[in-house]
Structures are given as structure tokens and as C-alpha cells.
């Protein structure tokens, strides 16, 4: 019995030891758990708190509204129009094909588009979204809204889309907006929140690009609490976006429309500058395109048509077109000569139809010659031989200096993309670029605005503005930003002698108003609206000696792309200049015949603020003008 109880005792002791060991090791493991919890909850708490916040808070970047563009009178040129669109969220649990099938019963979705959507979405991060339909009508959008319960993952949304009210009439100047391309990325800092906005649109071309920093605005940040599936639980805070600045341009929308209609049948451009402040009130370039197509994403087909079109509808010819200024350049040569006291206006040069330089003949456009020619006659009748003489006397360096002073070969400071500098050649330029020394023949060609010289229509309009005022008129496009007018410094004097300018102006008066002037047909008879100007016919082909003896082929008989460019530049009114103009009609033929009437009509519209009155034209022009004006009138009303 005692042994038994002893045995029992040993057994109990053993069990006690063993159970103590079990208990101790279990408590040790609990201790390990506590250690691990302490590690996570106390030592690493900060890290995990941050991660929990990242989980919980979703920052949404809210795009700013783009600034509105107005014309000088407050007519809206570019605005933001509601765009009803539908997005789809990437959520693993939804059955995409069936949702899309349901959706396609409400709005039209092509089958290929469905496949494309599914493929695109699969590449996306969870809870991110892609746009599946845009520009829906209100009734389509409403249908989707009503049926939303059966459309899992579909998010209807209203955003804003740029809309250009003037369509083709102001396409080049305004340009358009588009999504950020890899090329545009250079313009952004890497962390710019704008880059995170899906399909954010920036200015790509024209004023939209040039003034993008004003128009774009500041993004807003919305802080939302979201759950694991990305659903917004509540708004935590908001830093609202600030919309872009509204811009009033110097453009006059009606004049612009008139200009575009007036050059409708040509590949041409026309620029008008308001001489009181340098504001460009119209900048027309034809052919044109509808910028709204670019906002919606232009189709490949339409894009190719625009690209391949031979008259370059995408180019803003008024600022990017490089043309030899032709005879419109003769004022520059004359001013250089007069300023340097190299001639008197009365000095006579004989024109026999050509100028001989080292056995090479430089021809006048008039085969028979102009006879005795002074400065006034030289400009009025645009005698080339007179200006060969002048150019040789003045030399290219002085010509170049004067040209730059008047804005030729100088990039105008305008907030618009695609501006060309033009080209004023010098000896150094020819050495560097052609690896040839400068010949006197080059100077002669420059004297009549041919050869290497290139200028843009806006430069020619600036030149005429400066001749008309004697001031260093600087072109501008912005009238006001956010309603606050832009203050321009009063233009300074060019420092050209009044006598010089008077002679040039007198000559330009003669071009239009003397019977022998090259633009006599385009004169205006109202004495308060007298037009002064200069024609130019810039030759783009070599005329051989043989052709000259046989008789130069008329422009009408040449293939179109070999015909001369027709130019005209001028200002009104002669006594109290208000506007300057330049018109370039590509392959238009004679400047006096084609370009001058266009310039006259546009200036008349600018002066009147309305369609030209027939009484302002000379009697012989009225019949022709009546039909032109009536056509334009009809089209302006119908738009």
C-alpha cells in the first residue's frame, strides 16, 4: 500500500513537472506573440500608420477649367462645352462583356471597340478607369444614367471639352488643344500633377499653345476616404482647382470672318494691324480646317487629307509662310538710300527694260522699260531698274539693317506657335550657309525683294505699320488677361527723317491713286478713307533670256505652282493712318490685280466695322464688288 502510494506520488510529481513544462512553454510562446505584436504595434507603428493612411486616403487630382478666349469685343472664340462621357472602372469582380453588352443596348458601341476596351482595361491598375464613350447626347447620357444599376463599373461623368466657335475661320490663330504627347513631356516637370490626369488636354498649336500657361490654370486636389474597392466613403478635404485665365484677343471676330471669306478661293493669307496699339485685329490663312476635330481626336483619314493637301491647310501662312517680299520691299531700299543721303528723290535713273552688270542683264518687269524714272515713279510703277541702281548704291548691309529696323527678318514677339523668322541675307550669311561670297548681283536681286530675301505676311504688315506711323509699332495679340487690359509701352520713334517717310508715303499714295500706279484699280474714292500701299509680284521661277526675247509667258498660261505670288501691303486712311494690311496670294499672279483688291476690301471692313459700301468704290469696280460683297454677306449671315 505504501509502495503504491509512493508510486502514485512519483507519478504525480512527474505529471506536475511535465505539465509545468507544457504550461511554461505555452506561456513562452504567448510571450513570443506579445513580442511580435510589440514589434509591429510599437516599434513599427509609424510606418504602418503611414501605410494605413495611404490605403485609406485617395488623392484625386481635379483638372482646372481652361480659360476662355474672347475677341476684342467679347465674342467667345474658344470655350469649354459640356462633354457627357462614360468611363468604366477596372474591378475584378465585374463581368465586362456582359456589362458592355448591356451598355451597347443603350448607346452605340462597335464590337471591335468592345474588344479594344476589354484589352485596354486589363492592362490597367485595379480601380483605375478608361473612357469608353464621349460626346454623348443628353438623351443617350440620360438613358445610361437611368440604367446605371444594371451597369456595374460604369461611371457616367460630365467633363468639359474645348469648343471653337469660329471653326475654320480662326483655326490657325487659335490652334487647338490635345492630349499630352511624349514630345510635350519636355515642357513639364516630372512631378507635375497634371500628368496624372487622364487625357488632360494642353494647347498644341497657335494661341492655345502660346498662351497655354495662362489658359491652363491650376489643378485642384481632392482628398477622399476610400474603401478597399476604391469606393469613396467621404470627402476629407479639398483644394479647389483654379481655372485658367480668360484672354481677350485683339482679334475682331467679324473682320476675321470677312477676311477669311474674302480670300476663300485662294491659297492666301491676310494680316491687319491696328496702328493705335499694334494689335493684330485679323489674321487670316486659307485653306483652313476645323479645330474641333482635333479636340475630339481627329481620325487618321482626316489627318492624312489635311497633311497631304497641297495648299497646306494646317499651316498658318500669315506667320509661317516664307515669301520673297518682291516689290513690297522696295520701300525699304528707298528708305535706306534716303536715310544715308545717297540719293535725292528727284534723281533720275534711265530704265530701258534692263540693267547691265558685268555683261549680265537684270531685267525690269516691264520689257519696254520705264524711261526716265525718279523715286516716286520708281515706286508707283514699281520700276525694277530704278531699284537695281539704288541697291547697288546702298549695298546689302544697309539694306539689311533697314529691313530689320522695319521688322523684316525679325521674329515678331507673338504668343503663338509656328512663327517664322523670314530671312534677310548678308554677306556673312551667304558665306556660312551657301559657302559663297556675296556678289553685286545678289544685292541687285535683294533690291527688288527677290533672291534670298524671305518674309512673312505679318512682317510685311509690321513694315507698313512702321512706315505709316514712323513709330516702332510692335504687334500684339492679347488685349486683356482676366479682364485686365494689357498695357503697351507707347511705341518709340524709329528715328527715320520725316522727309524720308513723307516721300515714301507719297509714293505709296501714288501706287494706288495715280493712274499709272500699279494698284490704281484698288483705290478708294471716299476722301476720308484714302488707301496707300505697294504691290508686289514675287517671282518664283527663273526666266530665261530666250523666253524674254520670245515674250514672257503669261501667269495664266503657266502651271499654277510656277505662277508668281501676288502681294499687297498698304494702310488707311492716308492722312490719318489707322490700319495696315498685308495680303499674300500664293501663285496668285500680279499683286495689283489679285492681292490689292483683297487688301482694300478688308481694310474697308476694318474702317467701317461693317461690310463695305459700294459707294466707296470707283464706279468701274462697283459691278464686280456688288456680287463679291453680296456673296460674302450671304455667307456671313448663314454662319
Amino acid at each position: 500500500m505504501e509502495i503504491n502510494s509512493l508510486k502514485k506520488n512519483i507519478l504525480e510529481k512527474k505529471f506536475g513537472r511535465r505539465s509545468f513544462l507544457i504550461g511554461a512553454s505555452q506561456l513562452l510562446l504567448v510571450g513570443l506573440l506579445i513580442r511580435q505584436i510589440r514589434q509591429i504595434q510599437l516599434n513599427e507603428a509609424e510606418k504602418y500608420k503611414l501605410l494605413a493612411e495611404e490605403n485609406r486616403i485617395d488623392i484625386e487630382i481635379m483638372p482646372p477649367l481652361r480659360g476662355i478666349i474672347f475677341d476684342r469685343e467679347g465674342i467667345i472664340l474658344a470655350k469649354n462645352k459640356e462633354n457627357y462621357r462614360i468611363k468604366i472602372l477596372r474591378v475584378e469582380t465585374i463581368n465586362l462583356p456582359s456589362v458592355l453588352d448591356n451598355l451597347s443596348q443603350l448607346i452605340k458601341i462597335r464590337d471591335e471597340r468592345k474588344i479594344e476596351i476589354i484589352q485596354k482595361l486589363e492592362k490597367k491598375r485595379s480601380n483605375s478607369s478608361i473612357v469608353i464613350a464621349e460626346n454623348l447626347t443628353w438623351s443617350e447620357f440620360k438613358r445610361v444614367l437611368v440604367n446605371l444599376p444594371s451597369l456595374q463599373g460604369i461611371v457616367p461623368e460630365v467633363d468639359f471639352k474645348r469648343f471653337y466657335t469660329q471653326k475654320e475661320f480662326l483655326a490657325h490663330l487659335l490652334g487647338y488643344v490635345g492630349v499630352i504627347s511624349p514630345k510635350d513631356l519636355q515642357r513639364f516637370s516630372k512631378n507635375d500633377p497634371i500628368l496624372q490626369i487622364q487625357d488632360f488636354k494642353i494647347g498644341k498649336v497657335g494661341v492655345e499653345k502660346g498662351l497655354d500657361m495662362y489658359l491652363r490654370g491650376q489643378v485642384g486636389l481632392g482628398k477622399f476616404e476610400v474603401n478597399a474597392s476604391g469606393k469613396i466613403i467621404r470627402k476629407l478635404g479639398e483644394e479647389p482647382s483654379s481655372s485658367g485665365k480668360d484672354i481677350h484677343l485683339t482679334i475682331d471676330a467679324n473682320l476675321q470672318k470677312f477676311s477669311m471669306l474674302r480670300i476663300k478661293e485662294y491659297s492666301a493669307s491676310a494680316v491687319i494691324i491696328d496702328l493705335s496699339n499694334g494689335g493684330i485685329i485679323s489674321m487670316a490663312s486659307n485653306p483652313s480646317y476645323n479645330p474641333n476635330k482635333f479636340v475630339e481626336g481627329i481620325s487618321k483619314k482626316d489627318w492624312n487629307i489635311l497633311l497631304k493637301s497641297k495648299n497646306q491647310p494646317l499651316a498658318n501662312k500669315a506667320i509661317s509662310g516664307n515669301y520673297p517680299p518682291g516689290s513690297t520691299f522696295k520701300m525699304i531700299v528707298a528708305i535706306a538710300a534716303l536715310e544715308e543721303n545717297l540719293i535725292n528723290p528727284e534723281d533720275i535713273f534711265e530704265c530701258n527694260g534692263f540693267y547691265e552688270l558685268e555683261e549680265r542683264k537684270f531685267h525690269c518687269w516691264k520689257y519696254s522699260g520705264h524711261g526716265s524714272t525718279n523715286l516716286l515713279k520708281g515706286i508707283e510703277e514699281s520700276c525694277d531698274v530704278y531699284f537695281y541702281n539704288l541697291a547697288e548704291r546702298v549695298g546689302i548691309d544697309r539694306i539689311a539693317k533697314t529691313a530689320r529696323k522695319f521688322g523684316i527678318g525679325v521674329t515678331p514677339d507673338l504668343p503663338i506657335s509656328g512663327i517664322s523668322k523670314g530671312l534677310i541675307p548678308t554677306k556673312k550669311w551667304k558665306k556660312n550657309n551657301k559657302n559663297q561670297s556675296w556678289f553685286t548681283g545678289d544685292t541687285l536681286n535683294s533690291g527688288i525683294g527677290q533672291g534670298f530675301i524671305l518674309s512673312t505676311p505679318v512682317q510685311i504688315a509690321i513694315m507698313t505699320a512702321r512706315i505709316a506711323t514712323g513709330l516702332e509699332i510692335k504687334p500684339s495679340l492679347i488685349k486683356a488677361i482676366n479682364g485686365i487690359p494689357i498695357k503697351h509701352n507707347k511705341p518709340i520713334s524709329l528715328g527715320i527723317k520725316k522727309s524720308t517717310l513723307d516721300v515714301i508715303r507719297q509714293a505709296m499714295f501714288g501706287v494706288v491713286n495715280n493712274k499709272s500706279g500699279t494698284a490704281f484699280n484698288s483705290r478708294l474714292i471716299n476722301e476720308n478713307k484714302i488707301l496707300a500701299g505697294k504691290t508686289g509680284t514675287s517671282q518664283i521661277r527663273q526666266i530665261s533670256e530666250e523666253e524674254r526675247t520670245k515674250g514672257i509667258i503669261k501667269n495664266e498660261d503657266l502651271p499654277r505652282n510656277q505662277r508668281d505670288h501676288a502681294l499687297f501691303t498698304g494702310y488707311v486712311p492716308f492722312t490719318n493712318p489707322k490700319f495696315s494690311v498685308s495680303v499674300v496670294v500664293e501663285h496668285g499672279g500680279g499683286g495689283g490685280k489679285v492681292a490689292a483688291p483683297i487688301a482694300r476690301d478688308i481694310l474697308l471692313y476694318a474702317l467701317n466695322g461693317a461690310l463695305p459700301n459700294l459707294q466707296e468704290y470707283p464706279a468701274e469696280e462697283r459691278n464686280k464688288m456688288e456680287s463679291i460683297i453680296n456673296n460674302i454677306k450671304r455667307e456671313m449671315i448663314s454662319i
Partner: protein, 344 residues
Amino acid sequence: MLYSVADGDYDKWSKPQFERFLIGFVIMLVMGFINIDFWRACAPFIYFVGVLLLLSVFFFGDYGGGAKRWLEFGSFRFQPSEIMKVGLVMFLSIYYDWLKPKNTSKLFWVIIPIIIIFLPTALIIPQPDLGTGIIIAMTGVTMMFAAGVHYFYFLIIVLLIPAFLTLLFYSRDTSWQLVTDYQFNRIDAFLNPGKDPLGVGYQITQSKIALGSGGLEGKGFMQGSQSQLDFLPYKHTDFIFTTIAEEFGFFGGVGLLLIYSTILIFCLFSAFKNRNRFGSLLTIGLSTIFFSYFFVNIAAVTGMAPVTGVPLPLISYGGSAMLVVLGTFGLIQSSHVHRLLKKD
């Protein structure tokens, strides 16, 4: 806690759970008053019923959460493996109660309990339920240890573990793979949760974020962003500890562990004081089951062990675990109440 994770909806999880708790509590009390000898008599029966049920799961079981663990009787679904745990402990208790102490460490008398343990383990692991299988095996081994089997045998087991693990990983992607791909994925996620933060590792990562962001004092009742905003998976079942620790912080989590430990210590004392060998072995075994529940659960949600789908005792939403835990408490109470009762 269930009220909190149900976003303040009492009816969703709290109410049925509370009802179950009441039923379980009554069962526990009734079981506690029933004589220990009755339970002794039941023991082999419960063990073999458990084995039979596991066999039927093997053939007719229901799938739930990717595994075949459930048996369905009408609208009542339960996991036989839960019953098996209790059955095993009871069966081993009567075995060692019956066995003459001097035979305890003899090889033949050691192999018999190993077979008793191996049978249910082998049926549970392929369900697949590696966690419960290991818990069952460990519980059995613990009981053998408590019963006084010689240290030598445990040394062998300790030495065999690395060999087994090597074999386990070596078997991967072979025709005789020891566990399923699903289980390998869980193990991968445990070893490297950052590798696939949105896939399998997501649960562990989010769970750690919830714990860590709770800090010392927690975010407050129903204020846990991780659980309230659904970042936590299985927040009302296996991951409920995370919600506790997120909302009540380090104090809350450790507090719960201390409550559990107190229960454990009580059980050990009870076992120690018990004059009845069956009762003390039963208490040790059942408290080990209780321990393994909360240890495996919390180790998993804190990233110390792979996620195995073991609930947190008395707190996770779910019927059979609740009933089993309360049932074991009933048995422990019964053996405590009858601690002075000796086998005649």
C-alpha cells in the same frame, strides 16, 4: 467586436454569434455538471465517431473557402475536425489512464498512441487543412509528453521535424507532393508577403498594416480604418484579432492574450490539483487545444506563421469552433468539479 466589423450592424454577425454563445454557455454548464466518469465512458465513442465523420468528409464533404472540410446536415454545417480534436484528447486521456505507468515509455505502448494521433491527422491534412492537422498532431504529442513518455521519444520527434520540412519542400512540383499548391501558396505568402502584395500576401500585408497603425492605444472602437474600409480580409472570422489590435491598440491585443493566458494557467493548476488522472490529462489536452487555437490564429495574423484558417476562440464569427471551445470548457469544468473523484 463583431458589431464593430459589421459596421455597427448588430443583426449581421453579433446577434447570431451571441445566440450561439448562449446555447454554448448552457451546454458548457450542463457538461460541467455531468460526472467525469460519463465522459470517460464517452471518450472512445467520440474518437471513433470523429474518425468516421472525417472519412465521410473525405468522400462526401462540402467545399468552403477552397477546402473540403465541411459536413452538412440539413442547414447545419460543421467541421468534423473540431470534434476530432476533442475526441483525440479524450481518447488519449483514457488510454494513459488505463495504461500502467511503468509501460508508458515502452516502444509498443508508445506506437499505439502514435497511431491514434496519426489516423485523424492523416485524414485532415489532405482536406486540405494543414493548420488543424498540425494542431491535432501537436496536441497529441503534448498529451504524450504530459503522460510521462520518456524524453528520448520527443528528442526523435524534434530531430524529425527538419527532415520532414526538407521532404515537404522537396516534394513540391513532384508527383508525390505532400501538400496542395494552395498550401504552398500560403507558405510562400508567409515567407515573402511583399512579393505579391495584391495576391496571397495581401492578407498578411493588410493585417500587419492594421496592427501597426493601431499603435499603443488603438484608433478607438469602430474607428479602425483598415477594418471599417474593408482593407482587411476575413475581418469577422480569422482576422478579427487584427481589428481588436487596430481599434484597441497594443493594450487591447495584449490584454486579450493575458485573458487567454489566465484561462491557460487556471487549466494547468486545475490539472495539477486533479487527483483523477483522466481528468488531469483531459484538462491538459483541452487547454492545449485552446492554446493552439489562439496561438496559431494570432501568429498567422501577426505574420509569424502561415495563414491556416484557424479562428480566434470565442471571438471569431462561426458556430462549430464556438461550440467546441465552450464544449471543451464544459469538459474542463467537469474534470475540475470532479477533481477529487478517484477511479474506483
